[in-house]
């Protein structure tokens, strides 16, 4: 397994957001985490990236324990995240936004190459490379967020609610790119509220409910699951 999360707990002041969650991610394909708002999905990704303090449990990535490490060390190990709400840097240009993703890298020619390949994925960003990121539309901002994460040359990509606020057409476009990325050899953890979409893309899925994994299994199995259908797929 590329990533193994063992029984982690996360607390925000006194409120427990994760109560002993374990997941595993193989070195290829898409693993999705679905669940309602407030179930702890984003917290899970924040914990993986070192943004949320893990109070108990362990996170192992490629044979190394990474919980308790600062975010920059985790990025350096190869875990990149496109966070919820996109969180692009509004007063940086598109290109500068993308280049911040390569902050830890010093292989200049490679960076230029990767930048070209991001522009290859998102030709629209290439047209707007010198524009302030705050002037972009929601979909374009999502592209910047994903492109920026790719610029770190990740070995694992975390996507938090990429569909949020996007019209279905736009999301289809993004989904196609995610599939491309996975085909390119980077495994993805996809966190989604839109269970329909997520289960369509993923191989394996976890259902998170109030800070615990309530169900897990192959995505197609979960799609058929009674509980999941009722709770997340609109009957």
């Amino acid at each position: 397994m590329l990533l193994e999360v063992k029984e982690i707990h996360v607390h925000y002041s006194k409120v427990a957001a994760l109560k002993g969650v374990s997941i595993e991610v193989p070195s290829g394909g898409i693993v999705t985490i679905i669940g309602a708002n407030g179930a702890g999905k984003s917290t899970m990704l924040r914990a993986l990236s070192g943004l949320a303090p893990v109070s108990a449990g362990e996170i192992w990535f490629d044979g190394e324990r990474i919980d308790g490490r600062p975010p920059e060390k985790i990025v350096a190990r190869g875990i990149a995240q496109a966070p919820e709400g996109r969180r692009i840097f509004p007063d940086l240009t598109v290109e500068e936004n993308l280049r911040t993703g390569a902050f830890l890298r010093s292989d200049k020619p490679e960076i230029e190459h990767d930048l070209d390949s991001v522009f290859g994925h998102f030709p629209r960003l290439k047209e707007r490379r010198t524009q302030w990121a705050k002037t972009l539309s929601g979909g374009e901002q999502q592209m910047v967020a994903i492109g920026r994460a790719l610029m770190s040359k990740p070995r694992l990509l975390l996507l938090d609610e990429p569909s949020m606020g996007l019209a279905p057409v736009l999301f289809q476009e993004i989904a196609a790119i995610v599939i491309e990325i996975v085909k390119g050899g980077v495994p993805v953890i996809l966190v989604e509220q839109n269970a329909e979409l997520a289960l369509g893309l993923a191989k394996y899925a976890y259902v998170l409910e109030t800070g615990r994994v309530s169900l897990e299994g192959a995505a197609e199995d979960l799609r058929e699951n009674e509980h999941v259908r009722k709770a997340y797929l609109g009957g």
Partner: protein
């Protein structure tokens, strides 16, 4: 329920506190009584500041507002011959009235901008004091401000020039004010202030006029800040623009933050503890030149090691004595 028990113990604590405050001057040296008078005036100042902060707005003009009360009361009594107790009320009222006017430009701003805006407004008021020698006395300010009139009880003459007597006067005025401030906070008004602090949009949506309530908090806080200013003016007998400058304001901020702002008592605790340290302990050690350095070190240590203020010390100590672990970990949260 532990309610009755806590009620009883808080009654006992309260009685002990009041008794302590009453006998306090007799335990102090003469100059310490002087310090006690100034301290109790500052207690009112910082408690009124807390009321202001309930709505979430931090002002840098509060000390200037205190000065407005002081100047107004001084001028009412000195130039217009208004009897001092009345002029004190008028002075506090003037501070409140000015706050009501200032709220129109100032509450266009929020948060950090309000902080800075209140600073600018305060500086403008101070410049007005400086440049209008008549009636404000210019840079030298006002002096020979009439003092609180002596009371003749027949058998005894109470002179409020004596720090001990003025202490009791302040104790009554400040005690009453604190009671009112406390009642405000505990009432629905306080609830509404808090509501505005945490979610002003939501409060608006359920018919809370946030501008009016912010103004109310500002006006009330200013009234009591002004009152503390009048207590100061008629005791010290002089006011000047420098006395109310931003450096003094910084001290109020320090008291509030070092004390902690989560509870009514936090800022009061802050002013009491820091005043005792700075004015009594450090002076007694004879460390005149290095006193500011030590004070600075104490400030840093307190925000580093007591981020929730001195007020958080109480529960911490309680837990320590109860032998509990400082924070229950997993079992509490499952």
């Amino acid at each position: 329920m532990p309610n009755r028990k806590t009620n009883l113990s808080s009654w006992a604590l309260g009685t002990a506190l009041v008794a302590g405050l009453i006998v306090l001057p007799h335990l102090l040296s003469f100059s310490q009584r002087e310090i006690a008078v100034l301290l109790i005036i500052n207690v009112l100042l910082v408690a009124s500041y807390r009321l202001m902060t309930l709505t979430g707005e931090w002002s840098l003009g509060h000390v200037v507002i205190m000065g407005v009360g002081a100047y107004a009361s001084a001028l009412f009594s000195k130039s217009l011959g208004v009897p001092v107790p009345l002029s004190m009320l008028l002075g506090a009222g003037t501070a409140a009235g000015l706050a009501a006017i200032l709220s129109f430009p100032l509450f266009r701003m929020k948060g950090f901008y309000f902080l800075i805006g209140s600073f600018a407004a305060g500086e403008v008021i101070r410049l007005i004091w400086k440049y209008f020698t008549n009636p404000f006395g210019g840079a030298k300010g006002l002096k020979l401000i009439p003092s609180f009139p002596d009371i003749n009880l027949g058998f005894a003459d109470i002179s409020f020039f004596e720090p001990e007597n003025y202490y009791y006067l302040c104790l009554v005025v400040v005690g009453l004010s604190l009671f009112i401030l406390y009642r405000i906070e505990a009432s629905r008004i306080g609830l509404t202030f808090h509501a505005i602090h945490w979610q002003d949009k939501l409060a608006e949506a359920v018919s809370v006029d946030t501008f009016r309530y912010r103004t109310l908090a500002f006006v009330l806080a200013s009234f009591f800040a002004g009152l503390s200013g009048t207590l100061y003016a008629h005791y010290i007998g002089t006011v000047n623009p420098t006395r109310f400058d931003v450096e003094e304001m910084v001290y109020v901020l320090i008291w509030a933050i070092v004390g902690g702002t989560a509870t009514f008592c936090g800022p009061i605790l802050g002013v009491v503890v820091l005043t005792i340290i700075n004015e009594i302990i450090l002076r007694a050690l004879g460390l005149d030149t290095v006193r500011p350095m030590i004070y600075g070190g104490i400030l840093i240590a307190s925000v580093l090691f007591l981020p929730d203020g001195l007020e958080s010390l109480g529960p911490k100590l309680k837990r320590l004595f109860a032998g509990k672990r400082p924070s229950g970990q997993l079992e509490e949260t499952t």
